[in-house]
């Protein structure tokens, strides 16, 4: 009887072990394929002209594979999204964590969670049909599909992430800190601004980095709404193109095994590296935050 129990436990333990191995397997597999298909590009073009090249004309003769407008497009819409999402997200978190009456707190949390359940293609659709034309009329633009529209929608996607993780960080600040602050005569606002928020800083950092990661990888919305012009951005009111949109736009029709195909994989590698770096640094800050609050 004891032997049978033992065997059952061994099998279950092994199944879980193998399941966790599969995630490592897939991660390594994906990185391998990305680099395998991306590196052949550098037989035709050197790294410098790839990273700093200002024109993306992959099907022209001779083709130009300049990443600069695409990567700046990605960073530009991300910046715009964060400028909107970070203040809103952190303020929402502060309100929920420190100031809201318990009932309102529950409803607010629920509402914010529901924002995450909206598929990104619906945001894109709303952008083309509602937000874009509205901004076009309001600001008298020649076209409403610009990086501002994309940033607004991306901010809507980033706010739930930033708000919920920041709220968790603020909630985990030990009560003693707040009580000590009040004991010294600080007002509620002074406590929040000068004690609670700085104490939760690592957690808030994680929240922002994860929100940024979500925004950088977003494809469908920017594809539909950011405009698609592969130029170096200099204003929020002009159309831009991101790395994700370029891959989605061009992959279907490329000749498999051509330089264009390798170039698309190469820009995917760049995106992968950026995403990975963001997630690793978020992880680093998360660990710091966990250590502090213990």
């Amino acid at each position: 009887m004891k032997g049978k129990q033992h065997l059952k436990e061994k099998i279950i333990k092994n199944i879980f072990f193998l399941s966790s191995l599969t995630s490592i397997f897939f991660l390594l597999g994906i990185s391998f394929i990305l680099f395998k298909e991306g590196l052949p590009l550098f037989r035709e073009i050197d790294l410098k002209s790839f990273l700093w090249g200002k024109s993306w004309y992959p099907t022209y003769n001779p083709p130009e594979f300049g990443l600069l407008p695409l990567i700046l497009g990605t960073l530009w819409v991300t910046l715009g999204a964060l400028i909107i999402a970070v203040p809103l997200g952190i303020s929402a978190a502060i309100y929920i964590s420190e100031l809201a009456p318990p009932k309102i707190k529950d409803y607010l949390k629920l509402a914010i969670e529901m924002l995450t359940s909206i598929p990104s293609v619906i945001y894109g659709f709303l952008g083309i049909v509602v937000l874009g034309p509205w901004l076009q009329n309001l600001l008298n633009l020649s076209i409403g599909l610009c990086s501002l529209t994309a940033s607004l929608l991306l901010a809507l996607m980033a706010i739930p992430t930033i708000a919920s993780i920041s709220e968790e960080a603020l909630f985990s600040v030990p009560k003693d800190y707040k009580e000590a602050s009040y004991a010294l005569g600080a007002t509620k606002w002074e406590t929040i601004a000068q004690v609670t928020v700085p104490a939760a800083f690592s957690g808030i950092n994680t929240a922002v980095l994860l929100g940024m990661g979500r925004v950088i990888g977003e494809t469908m919305t920017v594809l539909m709404v950011a405009g698609g012009a592969a130029i170096i951005p200099h204003s929020f009111l002009q159309p831009v193109r991101t790395i994700t949109a370029t891959i989605a736009l061009e992959m279907g029709e490329t000749v498999v095994g051509s330089n264009h195909y390798y170039a698309l994989f190469a820009i995917a590698c760049v995106l992968f590296i950026i995403s990975l770096t963001l997630n690793l640094s978020a992880d680093y800050f998360l660990n710091k935050f966990r250590r502090i609050s213990r």
Binding site: L7, K10, I11, N14, I15, F17, L18, S55, W56, Y57, P58, T59, Y60, N61, P69, I128, G132, P133, Q136, S142, I143, G144, L145, L223, M224, G227, G228, A229, A230, I231, P239, R241, A248, L249, E250, M251, G252, E253, T254, V255, V256, G257, S258, H260
Partner: protein
């Protein structure tokens, strides 16, 4: 512990191998490629499978480049393409011992469209080229209102773009300020809501929400494409590896038939003369 782990891994491998083996044995005709040709292929396949119950067709999109790559790899039977095969693809065919045979199944015209409120009635191919390379930037330069031209285009590997580039742009670069969109439908939607916009779509996408311009004084309509006077037109292909056999040739013959060409017309394309 080691033995249990090994047994589980072995079981996993055997399981994943069994699945593909059990699939072999059913002969399915795979049609893959251009999203422009896709509606024709789908509509025709539905009727064809109704008329021939033993036929099993699987229609997929993915793009012309994708379809041709599939044909070369041997993973599809028919490759839909909205452009002729490129040199690089032909080279790849020779390397892999594939002999691609093109079958033209329909014609398509590409209309240049603007917002209905635009005063312009028609343009020459030269003027369209100058707009798209960024030389002309305001409608007033062409006799229209003082309004910035918003240039809407397709991604550079789309079959629609290819034809436009060959015939109108003649190899020149599109201005980087042009807005690249994913499909004919998206282009049409943008043109219908943006006053200064100009774009190009397949004839089937002309609706009352947009205004189709005359090109070189020729109205973009089916008759003009068929008699060859409309300048921006193209053929739609289905490629096979070698001369097609069995159900494959039956399907292509069906599309060539009167019933098939009627389906072509219903989908907004132009039947073969």
């Amino acid at each position: 512990m080691k033995r249990t782990t090994l047994t589980l891994i072995l079981a996993g491998i055997i399981f994943t191998l069994i699945i593909p083996i059990s699939q072999a044995g059913e002969k399915q005709i795979v049609v893959q490629g251009s999203t422009t040709v896709l509606p024709i292929a789908q509509a025709a396949a539905e009727v064809f499978m109704q008329n021939n119950p033993q036929a099993d067709l699987s229609i997929r999109g993915g793009g012309s480049g994708n379809g041709i790559a599939s044909l070369i790899d041997g993973t599809c039977d028919i490759a839909d393409s909205s452009r002729p095969m490129k040199d690089k693809e032909i080279l790849l065919c020779q390397e892999k011992g594939v002999s691609p045979v093109p079958h033209i199944i329909a014609m398509d015209g590409i209309a240049v469209i603007v917002h209905p409120s635009n005063l312009i009635q028609g343009l020459t191919t030269e003027q369209i080229k100058d707009i798209y390379i960024g030389k002309i930037t305001n409608w007033k330069e062409l006799g229209g209102e003082d309004q910035k031209i918003v240039v809407v285009s397709r991604d550079s590997s789309s079959g629609t773009y290819e034809i436009f580039e060959t015939i109108v742009l003649q190899g020149k670069k599109v201005t980087p300020e042009s807005l690249s969109q994913t499909s004919n439908q998206t282009v049409a939607t943008i043109i219908s809501t943006t006053k200064g916009a100009i774009g190009y779509v397949g004839l089937g996408y002309i609706s009352s929400n947009v205004k189709a311009l005359q090109v070189n004084e020729v109205i973009p309509e089916k008759a003009m494409v068929i008699n060859g006077t409309y300048p921006i037109s193209r053929s739609l292909f289905m490629y096979t590896n070698g001369a097609p056999q069995g159900i494959t040739i039956d399907f292509i013959k069906f599309i060539w038939s009167q019933e098939g060409q009627k389906i072509v017309e219903e989908q907004g394309f132009i039947p073969l003369p």
